[in-house]
Structures are given as C-alpha cells and as structure tokens.
C-alpha cells in the first residue's frame, strides 16, 4: 500500500477487512448486484443478495453456481459475455463491460450493465474475477420511448397534407415530407439539396433574400407567418400560407417551413363573394319590382274611387231630373230600386274593394321599402324605447284598462325608428287581441344572452292555436278576418322583416290557449360599444 494514499481511504480499506458493516453497505447499498468468481474453478461463483433481488429472487432461491446465470441470461447475450471474458483474461487493457439482459422471475427482461475486473497471479493468469451489475432498464425504456416518439413525429410529418420542409441555416432544403411533392408537383426527394428560395417566384425570392442579407441570416424568418406566392415545379404560381419555425439540433439551428396551398380556399371565397353579390343584386331587383308594381297598382284605384263618386253624383242628378216627371207606379218602383238600392250597393262594393286593395298595396310598399332602406344602427336604450312606445299607446292602454309591466331591459344595436315599430306592433297586437273576459295584462322583460339581447312581450289575451304559431308571421295573415279587429295583416310580417334585417329573430310561444309570448332577439352591443347606461326598473301599473 502506497504511503501517498489518503488516510481515510487507507482506513476504509482496513475496515473493509475487519468491519462486516462496511462490506454489507457496499454490497447492498452502493451497487445493484455484485459477483465474485473463481476463474480456475468456473462453477464456483458468489452472487450477492442484491444481484439475486434485481431479478426477483431471495438469496436462498438462487444457488451460488455459474450454471444459474448462464441459464438466466438472455441466450443472445451469452456469447457476447463469454467472448468478452476471453478478451479480458488475455488482455487486462480490454475492459469487461457490456449491457446484457436477464430473465426476471416474473418473466420480463431486466437490462443490466455488467462490469468486472480479473485479479491475476504473478504470471498474469486470471485467477479471480470481481464484478458488478447496474440496472439500466429505465434508461433502455427511455431510449425506446424516444424512438417511438421519433417514429410518431416522422409519421405525423409524413401524413400532414401540407408541405413540411426542413431548411438549414444556409437556406438549403435538407428534408421534405411526401406532401411537399404534391404541393410543388414533383417528387419530394428532388427538393432536397435545392435552395428553399427556388420554391418561390423570383420577385418573392428576391425580397426574402434582401431581408436575409440585411439581417445576416435566415433568423429573421423565425416565427414568421406569411401569405405569399409560391412556385410549382411546372411554373404555376399559387398562394401559400407559410409559417416558419426554428429549432436547435446538435449541428446548430434549422428551420421548419410549413407551406399550405390556400389557392382553393381563395377561389372558394371569391366564388362565394360573387354569389353573394349576385344574390344581393337579384334581391334588389325583386324589391324594386315589388315596389314599382305595387305603385302601379295603386294608380287605377284612384279612378275606381273617383269615377265611382262621379256615378254617385250622376245618380243624384237623375234623381233630381226625375222629380216631377209623371211615372207609373211600376216604373217608379223599378227606378227606385235601381237608384236607391242596386247602384248604391254596387258602388259600395267598388268603393270598399278599392279601399281594401289600397290598404294591401300600401302594406306591400311598406314591406318592400323596409328591405331597401338603410339601417341607422346605434346602441339603443331599450328601457327608454319601450317607455316611448308605452307613452304613444297610453290611450289604448288606458281605454282597455291594461296592466302594463316592464322589467329591466338590456341594450341592443339597432335602428331606433324600426325597433320602435317592432315594439309598437307587438304591444299594439297584444292590446288588440286581449280577452274581454279578463283584465288585460301585458309584460315586457328581457335578458342578455351572449351576443344577443332577448326581449319578451307577453300577454294574457285570447292566444292562438299551437299549429298557427308560424302562420301569424305570413304576409296578410289575420287571426280572424271577420272580426272587428282592424289591420292590414302585415304587422308581424313587418316585425319579422325588420328583425331579419337586424340579424335578429322573433318567435311566438303560447301555453294553455291563454295569451301569446313573442320572444325577440337583437344583436347586443360589444362591451366596447356600451356607454354607461344607468339601469332602472320600470313598474307601470295602469
């Protein structure tokens, strides 16, 4: 023993011989397993309890016998170990060190790093060998998992329908997935080795190149997302969405270029826009036809009414002229029935029908005008708007002794005059169709529903049968045409039309045949559009 050894090391070596605790610790704690082998009597080997425990056995389950490990090592690894023994025995400079697999008691394999060193006699012949086992299964598992992840990523890149291209710092393509071939109409492999700028039309490539020179490398493209023209191998250019990301490898920075051919989307978008334009054009045309024709239809009505009146005057003149003329009773009776009954009846029908027709045409005009007029949108305080409507309808509400209740209403984005019309029509409708048998009760309340504000106008009137709920929004539909309720049958069509134009909606609900509930939605203002409107609750019993 050299005197230069550290005194503690020297002490440890001495204690190793005398104190079993030191050996036990080294054997069980510091190493996964330990073996000591008599090379001259190869069957004789000592296997530490840790060695056996690593493979799932207690100390006494496994004999201290070379046959045991030779039978339990993976058969493929045994020749390697035997071969390495030979080399090491021959040449101490040739280390005995390899990873081998053993069969665990429960059947699975355990990977261990098996190392050892031979002690030799004066002639250099190996007489004993001391060895250790270190478990490396976890490391192997990690290596395997990394391999799986790599396979997964490789497959992922292969199955992406867009071009995924790996580019070195020098701008040369190092790898390209199969879809790159489809996008650029060539074999993907032929792209490798080319400058990435060759995938773009000269002017685009030049622009990128200038940036590259100015910034001294491709680094300026890190994280870039571009919409630029790219060039297929057959010379056709196409619009590509390009995103570029940098990643680090052992060889330094590389870039992944992801190129998506967006020309089909662009084409579809263009088609959609032109279709929308055509539809809008057609719609305007239809509106103007309705407008012009309903206008033309009104003109003849002036004549129907005007000349009807002329005829009435003519009858009066005849009546006057007949005054004092000698007639037989029979003649007088006949003339009387013509002048006093038949002609007035006919004129009455002509008059009433032309008035009715005028009303219908006016309604149509109003409806078509709604489709053409520009909306003046702003944030509307619906509490105020409903109050305005209530004030305007004060007379009817008082007359019918209606109990009118308004809850707190959220704001919305709308045309004030048109939404006033909506609320007016709905409340007016509710008043018209109240049930005379009970006290009228009309409630208006609302709530915010995401991007929409919702308003409900509810009454306890005569209601309508379930099947009729959609019909009431049709043009000229009237609940009961014979009733004395006045109207042109357009109120709800107008309401729906106005709400359509606001991108809002309306639906009707009824329950148990009592009353009807109209639920209206109108787009809500975005928080940025809100001004600080103070909220008040209106309870107005009338």
């Amino acid at each position: 023993m050299s005197t230069q050894e550290h005194h503690l090391k020297q002490e440890l070596l001495e204690r190793l011989g005398s104190d079993p605790l030191v050996f036990r610790y080294l054997e069980s704690g510091a190493l996964d397993g330990m073996w000591y082998w008599d090379v001259q009597q190869p069957k004789h080997v000592w296997l530490s309890p840790g060695y056996k425990a690593l493979f799932g056995y207690t100390d006494d389950e496994v004999p201290n016998d070379s046959d045991w490990w030779q039978q339990n090592i993976h058969p493929d690894d045994l020749p390697l170990v035997l071969d390495n023994f030979k080399r090491h025995f021959k040449d101490p400079g040739c280390p005995f060190d390899q990873v081998v697999r053993y069969r665990h008691k429960q059947g699975h394999l355990v990977s261990v790093r098996c190392r050892g060193v031979a002690t030799r006699d004066e002639s250099g012949r190996a007489v004993r060998m001391l060895g250790t086992h270190t478990e490396v299964s976890e490391l192997n598992r990690l290596v395997e998992e990394l391999q799986h992840r790599k396979d997964h990523l490789t497959n992922l890149v292969k199955s992406i329908p867009d071009a995924v291209i790996t580019v070195g710092v020098d701008g040369v393509i190092e790898d390209a997935n199969p879809a790159s071939g489809d996008v650029f109409r060539t074999d993907a492999k032929t792209l490798i080795g080319k400058p990435v700028l060759s995938l773009f039309p000269p002017e685009v490539a030049r622009a990128i190149d200038i940036d590259r020179r100015n910034t001294g490398g491709m680094d300026f493209l890190k994280g870039a997302v571009l919409a630029i023209d790219a060039l297929r191998s057959d010379g056709e250019d196409f619009r590509a969405a390009v995103s570029i990301n940098a990643f680090r490898t052992a060889e330094g920075h590389k870039f992944v270029w992801l190129l998506k051919d967006v020309s089909p989307e662009l084409r579809h978008e263009k088609e959609r826009q032109s279709l929308t334009r055509a539809l809008e054009e057609k719609n305007r045309e239809l509106e103007s036809i309705i407008y012009a024709s309903s206008h033309d239809l009104r003109s003849p009505l002036v004549n129907l009414q005007g000349f009807g009146r002329e005829l009435r005057h003519a009858c009066e003149e005849i009546r006057g002229a007949l005054n004092g003329v000698e007639l037989t009773d029979q003649q007088q009776q006949k003339l009387h029935s013509i002048l006093e009954a038949r002609i007035p009846e006919a004129l009455g029908f002509i008059d009433a029908s032309s008035r009715k027709m005028d009303q219908l045409i006016r309604g149509l005009l109003k409806l078509s005008r709604l489709g053409r007029e520009e909306l003046h949108l702003k944030v509307l305080d619906m509490n105020k708007l409903v109050q305005d409507v209530k004030n305007a309808l004060e007379f009817s509400l008082r007359e019918r002794e209606v109990e009118f209740e308004v809850g707190d209403l959220p704001c919305c984005i709308g045309d004030e005059a048109l939404l006033n019309q909506v609320i007016t029509n709905l409340i007016d409708n509710a008043i018209k169709y109240l049930d005379p048998a009970r006290r009228g009760h009309i409630k208006v309340y609302g709530r915010a529903r995401g991007r929409q504000s919702e308003y409900t106008i509810e009454d306890n009137g005569i209601g309508i049968p379930h099947g009729m709920l959609e019909k009431i929004f049709e043009v000229f539909h009237r609940l009961n045409p014979q009733s004395d309720v006045k109207g042109e049958g357009l109120g709800l069509s107008i309401v729906r039309r106005i709400l359509d134009r606001h991108n809002g909606s309306i639906r009707a609900e009824t329950s148990d045949g009592i009353g009807i509930k109209f639920i209206v939605t109108v787009p809500a203002p975005r928080p940025s559009e809100m001004n600080n409107s103070t909220k008040k609750v209106h309870h107005a019993g009338i």
Binding site: Y291, A292, H295, D296, R298, S299, P300, L301, V302, N303, Q305, G306, F307, G308, R309, D351, S354, R355, D358, L365, R369, R372, E373
Partner: protein, 155 residues
Amino acid sequence: MLEFERNPHCPPPTVLLAEDDPGHARLIQSNLRESGIKNPIQHFEDGAALLDFLHAKSDAAPALDFTNAYVLLLDIRMPKVSGDEALAKIKEHSQLRLIPVVMLTTTDDPKEIRRCFELGCNQYVTKPVDYDQFVTVIQRLGAFLQITCVPVLGG
C-alpha cells in the same frame, strides 16, 4: 268663393298637366275647376309630349309662348320619358327652369320625394287613393295655384 285680385302684370299662369292616366287627368282637371281656377289647363299624356311642347317641337295648340307664365303639374311614373327625367331636363334648362314644378304623384316614398327635390322640384303633392281625400288635395292645390305668382318665361 273669394275672388283673388291679381296684379294685371302677373297674369294667371297656364297649368301644364303631364299625366299618363286619362282618368286621373280628368279627375284632376275637374277638381281644379271645382276649386274655382280659371287658368288655362293643357294636358300631356307623357313626359315626351311635355318636353316636345317645351322645346317647341310639337304642334300642340296653343304652342309654348315666352310671354306667358306656366306652372307644371308633373306625374312621376309615365311611359317614354318619366316625370323625374323631364324634371331634370327642365331644371337644367336656362329658361324653362323658371317654371314652378309641382310633382303630383301616387308615390309617397320619402326617398322619391327627396330625389325630386334634389332634382329641383318646387312642390311635392301626393294623390290620395281615397277619393274624399283626393278631392280635398286637388281643390287645395287649385286654391294654391290661384294665389301663385309666376314670372313670364321670356323675362
């Protein structure tokens, strides 16, 4: 009826009525007369006939007279040349633009009304379909024409 006393230098203008519907034309004329106006009334059945007269290209009698004053009652929807087209032509003309133009039409669309005023019309009156109202409107228009003073065309 109260007789309006006119300045002899401001003679009652000739009423030009451009109206394609013969029934309307008759009802308008009879109700204007009913209101008591004595002005001559000259009827044209469309905008083209009116413009021909104003440009002295027609053999309408009496012909356009530059020593006379005119007021025009103009329908909008007419064949050949519509009322708004005729209005634009008249208001672009250095002399004819002196003629007061009263639009007399069944249209009450605010857009149409605005457009006519933009083109330079002087009044806009809607013909009601309801005959009682029609009578009232035309007779009031007649009363208004009675008190209207218009310069002679030639200055």
